[in-house]
Symmetry: C2
């Protein structure tokens, strides 16, 4: 079942959610399994059904920076599958045994082009989502600068 408590499907009608459900495939993964890899072609978006997903970004050999851990049903990752250049910006790994819904990017884009109201809502949701993540990331950057400033002074 597609959870409605996710940012991507916010504002969609029941029928629109059903339509998206029709192209979703449920997959089960073990703790430690890799779901998507940063830099690779983004073929699918994912919705967390159960378990936990760790999102990371590669910094250097042996060090991946944790970005988030998703634990709530309905949380979405891999939405790069909906936007050019269709390339994952993060890696996702199961922090626990997990159940996911895989949404094929091509099928989703097809639905979005056929139902422009649905497409528009999803794009609005994505714009809001990325803007929020951008503000969070800038805040993190600021904290680093503050720490740096304070260490220079002390």
């Amino acid at each position: 079942m597609v959870a409605t408590a996710n940012f991507l499907l916010e504002g969609l009608s029941g029928a629109q959610i059903e339509r998206i459900k029709s192209v979703a495939e449920e997959i089960s993964l073990e703790k430690g399994d890799h779901v998507v890899t940063e830099g690779e072609e983004a073929l699918s978006a994912y919705i967390l059904e159960a378990g936990a997903i760790e999102l990371t970004t590669f910094v250097e050999e042996g060090f991946d920076l944790p970005i988030a851990i998703l634990r709530n049903q309905g949380e979405v990752f891999g939405s790069a599958a909906l936007l050019p250049p269709y390339q994952y910006s993060l890696s996702a790994r199961c922090a626990e045994k997990s159940t996911l819904l895989r949404l094929d990017g091509t099928a989703l884009k097809q639905i979005m082009s056929e139902d422009s109201d649905l497409g528009c809502k999803i794009m609005t949701n994505l714009a809001r989502y990325f803007f929020e993540r951008l503000k969070e990331t800038r805040l993190e950057l600021k904290i680093h600068f503050k720490t740096l400033l304070n260490s220079t002074r002390s």
Copy 2:
């Protein structure tokens, strides 16, 4: 004149750009003038016609972190006027005497709701834009972590 070489209007038809032009107001500002302030209600989006705009974010008293300098005709800032919570995430100041087009947020949202194709294109452009800025900001964060790692080692 609204420049078409800006991310917000990408993919819009000539007629759609004309419609947006009809609510644009040209303003002239001097070097040092503040255009928008971080945290304040985002009432307008802006398109750079001539001059240069510095975007910054507040870190602490006496230190604003520079985020970008816009120098190209058609560059856009203040797009927070199109997305809830309608609050500027950065401050903008004229780095030179500048000419801007001010797009009233309420008028723009009205046009977007009346012409859903136009609204959808603008939301898609915003989603792509914020995603790109997010990736850039994460990259900057990574550079800080790398510097930190290297300084710990040396």
